[in-house]
């Protein structure tokens, strides 16, 4: 009986191989091949052209701007994510589920629309357009607009990761810390933060990948001024539309590298969290 049951809950060898074959072909076609193609195209005319493409000043300024935008957006959303998760996971209050839904809102918004809302606010015809113009402040088609749009599209990433995690952990450890005489900050730094470190890193990595790679929202607010308001993805677009494929794929290869590193670190975090027996995600 035991033997027949065992066989009955497994597929035949042929079906197993068929499924694995279908799955791997699908993934190879849609994921493996494109990833390989990025690097292949980037190096198709040799290393020298690749380097030349990357050393171009406009490419450099795009790289710099991308790092600036992510460098501001990620910490902002990190602080927000921690504050939101602290309030939501450790306290009982009215309207909590509404708040959680609102935090998810940017995920439901098309990237283009995310950019559009800032145009409506800060554009020449926007709510604050005249005031900004009168005070000679340029938000739109400038770096602040790009940063804002980036913050918007990556808004939920870290909070989404931390809220269920901290809810699952409960508040007993924090209560224990307080009853042992710890202050609020001591409780947070010594008890809460170490408990959420893997989830936090996970959220930061994904947030950063999206921040550096965002295209639609940034495209709407950037104004596409070469060497000024172009991030790497926007620079890729310009080069591609100019049929400068080697340069386009050279810059794209950097972003693909970022994606690969992101996936590697993400797997590493998952592995570390599993190894230390700390759940990465909430229940």
């Amino acid at each position: 009986m035991a033997i027949t049951t065992r066989i009955a809950t497994h597929e035949s060898k042929a079906v197993t191989l068929l499924f694995i074959g279908v799955a791997l072909t699908y993934l190879l076609l849609f994921l493996g091949l494109p990833l390989f193609a990025v690097f292949y195209q980037a190096f198709s005319k040799g290393w020298d052209l690749y380097w030349v493409a990357l050393q171009e000043p406009d490419a450099w300024s795009a790289i710099k701007l991308t790092f600036i935008a992510a460098g501001i957006a990620v910490p902002c959303n990190l602080v927000f994510g921690i504050a939101a998760a602290w309030a939501i996971a450790k306290f009982e209050f009215k309207g909590k589920s509404l708040l959680i839904t609102l935090i998810d809102l940017p995920f439901a918004v098309s990237p283009v629309v995310s950019g559009l809302v800032y145009v409506l606010l800060f554009g020449a015809q926007g709510w604050f357009g005249e005031w900004l113009q009168a005070h000679d402040i340029k938000l739109l088609f400038a770096v602040p607009g790009i940063v804002l749009a980036t913050i918007f599209v990556t808004f939920p990433f870290i909070a989404r990761e931390l809220i269920p995690l901290m809810q699952a952990q409960g508040k007993e450890e924090e209560e224990a810390a307080v009853s042992l005489g710890a202050s609020g900050w001591q409780t947070f730094w010594r008890v809460t933060l170490p408990n959420i470190k893997w989830g936090l890193m996970y959220g930061v990595i994904l947030c950063n990948a999206r921040a550096m790679g965002e295209f639609g929202a940034v495209s709407v607010v950037s104004g596409h001024i070469r060497g000024m308001t172009n991030t790497m993805p926007l620079h890729v677009e310009i080069l591609y539309n100019e049929y400068n494929f080697v340069a386009a794929f050279a810059v794209a290869s950097l972003l693909a590298l970022l994606a690969v590193v992101t996936l590697a670190v993400k797997s590493l975090v998952e592995w570390q969290a599993k190894r230390s027996g700390e759940p990465l995600h909430g229940a």
Partner: protein, 287 residues
């Protein structure tokens, strides 16, 4: 503890229950301020701007042929991509959970590539691959099928973008399906296909539907990966997000906003559906 947590949910007299932990006011205050400044106020601008059009103007934008075509293309391509992902995503999830093979961990990690790879990079790469002379496109071209620069290309891009959703929602649920249930079904004489159809599939169906809806919702808003491969022919392969950009470039802010509001409403409806689905399944005790 359990009874305490349960009873503290019943607090009706005060805004929040007492807690010894500090920082509530600061944390919630900052959360609400940040949420309002970054998300709520900007999004509300969308609706105020649309209001300036009036119902008539809004209706005119909606019934414009080009707008309708773009919505149709966006909707149908997203639907096709989500269906493809539901089918293959289920197989991928199944293979990743049930079978072992060399390199499985790398394959598993690779599934998240569309989350990590910037959409513009995906766009130019897919366009290159599926162009008539591209690595993949040439085989289609030989059959007389054009992929890139047609609605088919849009489906390809949206399939790439939505790939992880189904896999990642089905995977954990499939892991939770108890071997015992399957063994029980098998010992009662059910064949393998019967076991899948009657025992496993009902258990993972809500997750599959959730993954499908998420992929669908994501595809509707997608921009970066599509515009390179779509060809962007008005009435044929022009997606709604691109039309928004086009209207913006002509300084037709109200028109752009009207399309944005429609898309937003579609996305909300979808996410509402997902939430309702999750609420419904959690009530049934099935994840």
């Amino acid at each position: 503890m359990a009874q305490l947590a349960a009873s503290s949910k019943r607090v009706t007299t005060r805004f929040r229950a007492h807690s010894v932990l500090p920082g509530f006011n600061l944390a919630l205050g900052f959360t609400l301020l940040y949420l309002s400044l970054i998300v709520l106020v900007p999004l509300s601008a969308l609706f105020f701007k649309t209001a300036t059009l009036g119902w008539g103007g809004f209706f005119d934008v909606l019934t414009n042929d080009r707008v309708l075509s773009s919505l149709r293309v966006t909707f149908l391509a997203s639907l096709a991509a989500a269906v493809i992902n539901a089918f293959f995503g289920l197989i991928v999830a199944w293979v990743l959970v049930r079978y072992t093979f060399p390199g499985k961990r790398i394959v598993d990690a690779l599934v998240d590539l569309p989350f990590a790879l910037p959409t513009a990079v995906a766009g130019i790469t897919l366009a290159t691959l599926y162009a008539p002379h591209g690595w993949i496109g040439q085989y289609f071209a030989a059959q007389g099928i054009k992929v890139a620069y047609t609605p088919l290309g849009i489906v390809v891009a949206l399939t790439f973008i939505g790939l992880p959703f189904v896999v990642r929602t089905v995977q954990p649920v499939l892991e939770d399906v108890e071997a015992g249930v399957e063994e029980a079904a098998a010992s009662l004489g059910a064949g393998r296909w019967d076991v899948f159809r009657r025992v496993i599939f009902p258990a993972i169906f809500p997750a599959l539907l959730t993954g499908f809806s998420l992929a669908f919702a994501r595809a509707i808003g997608e921009y970066g990966s599509v515009i390179f491969i779509a060809g962007n022919m008005p009435y044929i392969s022009e997606i709604s997000p691109l039309l928004i950009v086009a209207k913006l470039e002509q300084y037709d802010y109200a028109g752009a906003t009207a399309i944005a509001v429609i898309m937003l409403l579609i996305s909300f409806a979808l996410l509402l559906g997902v939430n309702a689905l999750q609420w419904w399944t959690s009530r049934r005790g099935v994840r």
